[in-house]
Symmetry: D2
Subunit: 264 residues, 4 copies
Amino acid sequence: MKQAEIRSDIAWATPKKVVIHGLDLCEEIVGKIDFGQMAFLQLFARLPEERELRMFNAMMVILVEHGITPSSLATRMTYAGAPEAVQAAVAAGLLGLGSVFVGSLDNAARLLQESLPDPDNVPDIDALARQIVDDHRARKEILPGIGHPFHKPVDPRAPALFRVARDVGYDGPYIRLMTAIGKEAEQKLNRSLPVNVTGAMAAVASEMGVPWQICRGLAVSARAVGLVGHILEEMRQPLATTLYLRTEHEASAHLIPKADQEEP
Amino acid sequence: MKQAEIRSDIAWATPKKVVIHGLDLCEEIVGKIDFGQMAFLQLFARLPEERELRMFNAMMVILVEHGITPSSLATRMTYAGAPEAVQAAVAAGLLGLGSVFVGSLDNAARLLQESLPDPDNVPDIDALARQIVDDHRARKEILPGIGHPFHKPVDPRAPALFRVARDVGYDGPYIRLMTAIGKEAEQKLNRSLPVNVTGAMAAVASEMGVPWQICRGLAVSARAVGLVGHILEEMRQPLATTLYLRTEHEASAHLIPKADQEEP
Amino acid sequence: MKQAEIRSDIAWATPKKVVIHGLDLCEEIVGKIDFGQMAFLQLFARLPEERELRMFNAMMVILVEHGITPSSLATRMTYAGAPEAVQAAVAAGLLGLGSVFVGSLDNAARLLQESLPDPDNVPDIDALARQIVDDHRARKEILPGIGHPFHKPVDPRAPALFRVARDVGYDGPYIRLMTAIGKEAEQKLNRSLPVNVTGAMAAVASEMGVPWQICRGLAVSARAVGLVGHILEEMRQPLATTLYLRTEHEASAHLIPKADQEEP
Amino acid sequence: MKQAEIRSDIAWATPKKVVIHGLDLCEEIVGKIDFGQMAFLQLFARLPEERELRMFNAMMVILVEHGITPSSLATRMTYAGAPEAVQAAVAAGLLGLGSVFVGSLDNAARLLQESLPDPDNVPDIDALARQIVDDHRARKEILPGIGHPFHKPVDPRAPALFRVARDVGYDGPYIRLMTAIGKEAEQKLNRSLPVNVTGAMAAVASEMGVPWQICRGLAVSARAVGLVGHILEEMRQPLATTLYLRTEHEASAHLIPKADQEEP
C-alpha cells in the first residue's frame, strides 16, 4: 500500500527541455502529434499504432458532448456564480459523472475483463454469456451495457462504434462477449436489449487493453472538452439564471402563506 | 443579462439520432473525425480547416502534461482518499488552474485582444508594444506572457509553438505584437524576457479567434486528459500516502511536547 | 513567497492524544465546546469570548441556507449522477460561490478594511464615506454591500445582524462606515440603497478582525452545512432528474427537424 | 424515480422575509440559535432538544480538523494555484473524503442500521454481534468501526464520544451493538480491536436517527470548516509551493539523463 519512495515516471524537465513519456515536448510532440495521440500517450505511455489511434479517437469523440445533462447544468450553474473561475465550472460538471451516468461503463468493462481475464485464452463465448446472464438474474443485479431508456429499440452509437472496430480490425473476444450477453439477455428476458453505447465502449476499451478502473477517466477527460463548449454558450447565451429563478419560484411557491404573497 | 428563454444550440437527440453542432454523431463524427477535430467543433461550432487543426492540436498537446505540479498532487491526494470517484480526482486537480498557473494565459490573451481589437486593422506594432510596456511599468503591473522562472534564458515551448504557427501560415499581428512586447520589455528592463509558453499560447489563440475569456477552458480540458495519466500512475505506483505521512510528520513535529513523544 | 520549511501549527497527534490549536481534542473539545466555538477556534486559533461567539454564530447561521440557488442546484444535479459520492455533490455546490454571489462579501470587507486600516485610529466617518462613494462613482464601479435586487426596500437580514451587533457591544467604526456609505449613496444616487446582508456581514466580520481574504471562506463553510440539507431532500424527494429532462427538452426542441420529431 | 413535480420544502423568501424550515431567519434564527442548532435544523427540519444538541455538537467538533491529511494538502495545493477562488480550495479538499477516509463511517452506520432496523425492537445484542463478526470473517470483509492503525491500542476519540453519549442519556442499542462487535472481534481475532472514532460516530449518529446515507455529509460539512483554517494558515505561512517543488524534484530526478543535468 505505502511505499517509501516518491517516484513518477511520466515527465521531466530541465530549463532547456521538457520530456513526456520519453518524447521531447518541443521536438517530438508539438507540431508532430495530435490531441488524440497525446491522450493515448498519456494513458499508455507510448504512441498508438494507426488502428489503435482510429479506435481511440472514435471512443473519445463519442464521449465529448451529451447536450443538456445534469453535468452540463452543474457547469452552467457554477459559471453563473463564478464566471472568473472557468476551471471550477468544468470541475463542477465532471463531479456528477458517477455511478448513475458513467459508472455503468466501469461496471461493464469490469464484467468483461473479469470474465475474460486472458484475451488470448478464450473459452466458449456463448456459454460464458449465458452464465453471466444467469448469475446476474440469480443475484437480481442489473446487467451493465445493454438496453437504453431513450435510445430504443437500438442505441445507434453502439453499432457506430462497432463498425469502426470492425473497420480497423478490432473484433476480438470482448466485443463478441458483450454482443453475446445482449443476445442472451434478450432471449431470457424476452425483450429488446441490444448492446448500448456503454457496453460498446466497455468492449472496445477492453479490446484496447484499457484497465476497467480507468475507463471512467476516459469519459471524464472527454467530457471536460465538451463542458468548455457549454461554458462558451453560457457566456454568450445564458440560461442558468433564468432556470434557477424559475425553479426557485416553482419549488417554493407552495410554502408561502397567502398573507406573505406580495403584489406583483 | 437574464433571458426568459431557455435555449441551447449545441446538440439534440431523438431515439434514433444524436446531432452535435449540426453533425450526425453516428454518421459524421464517430470514425470520421478525431479527438482534436471534435474539441475544435465543440469550441467553434464548425470543423477546422487543415491549418486550423494543426495549430489547434499544437496548442492542446502542449497543455496536457506538466509533471508533478500542485494540480497533479491535488488529483493524487484526492484519488488516495476516494479511488472509487475518479471524476472527483480529476476535478480536484483542475480546481487549482487559477490565477497563478493558468490565469496568466487569460491575462496575456486579454492584453493582446484588447490592444488589437480588430486584427484586420493593425496599427504600428512596435509603437503599440512600447505603449503597453510603458503603461504596465507606470502601473507597476507584471507583463503577462514573457520571461520564465525555470525555463531560462528561453522557454523552449514558445519557439516550438511559433514554429508550427509559421509552418501553417499563422504569423499574424497577435504573434507579432506578443514578440514585440517581449523585445521592448527586454530593452526597457535590460534583462532577458523572451515570450514564454503562455505568451505564445495567448498569441496563437488570438490568431485563431479564441476569445480570451475561454482560453483557460482550453488549458483546463487539455489538463483533464493529463490528470487521468496521473491517476493511472497513482493506481499502479502510489506516492500520495507516503507524501502526506511524511509531510504530516515534518509539519507538526515541532508542536509535540517532549513528554508526548512516543518511543519508536 | 517560497519557504524552505514545511510547518503547520494547527494540530498534532500521538497515538494517545490529538491536540488542535493547543486544546486536547478528547479532554477539552469533545463535549466541552460547541460547533460554533470550534469553527471560531479554527479561524482565530483561540476560543471566543461570549460576545464574540454570539456575533460569530449570528454570521454563520445567516449563511447556511439560501433555498434553491445555482449552488444548491449544482449540488442536486451532481447528486443525481453520483449519489455514492456525497462529498462531490457538496463540493459542486460550493464551486459557484464566486464573484457573483459571494465575491461581493470579499469586496465589501476589503473596502472597509483598506479604508480603515487601523480601527483604533478612526478618521471622520462621514467624510470617509463621501470620499468612497465619490471615488466609486468617478471610476463607475459598483459599491459593494448596498441595495438588493429582491429584498427591497430593505434587506431584512442587515438590520437583524446589526441588532445582534448592538446587543453584544459591536458597534464600532466598520459598522458605522458601512452604514454611512449606504446613506451617502442614497443621497448621491437619489434612491433607496440601504446596507444589504453582504454589507452587514462585511462590517461585522471586520469588527471581529476577520481578514477580508477569508470572508468567503466563512460563507463557503456555512454553505457546506446547508448543502447537506439539500442532498438529504434530494434523496427523499428528488427534483434534479425532472428538472434536467424538462430543460433538455425545452432548450433543444427548436433544433429538431420536423422529419426527426418522433411520435409521442 | 422521476417525479413530475419540482418542489422543495426547505426555505422560502419574499422581499421582506426569509423562512427556513418554518423559522423566520431574521426573527427566530439570527441572534437566537447558534451554528450547531442551525446545522441540526438543516438536517432534521426541526430544532434539537438540549441533549440532542450536546450530542450533535460533540460529533461535529470531532470531525472539523485532522491536521495535515490528503484532504488538507489538496486544499493547500489548490489555494496555491487559485488563491482568488477560496471556494475551489475548500471543494478540492472535500473531494477526497471518499471510501478510504470517510466511507468507513457510512459503512459502519449502514451495518448498524441494517442490523438493527428497529431500535425499539432489540434482539440479543451479543448474539447479533457474534453473527456480524462471523459473517464478515466468512466473507473476508473488513469490519468497519474497529481498530486503528495509528491510535493504538485505543483510539481516544471513541471513549470521549461515548462519555458524552452517556452524560446526555444516549446509551442505546446502536452503541451497545458497536461495542459488542469490537469485543467479539477482539476475541475471535485475538488482538486489540476496540471501537474507533468512526465506529463511535456511526453508533451515535444511528442513536440520533441520522440515516447512514447522509453520515458522510456530516463529515463533509464539518471538514469544510476545518479546511478554511488550513487556507488561512496557507495564506500566512505557505507550504504548498515548497512541497510541490521538492516532490517534483524527488519524483523525477531518476528520469533525467546525465547529459541533461544542469549545473546548479
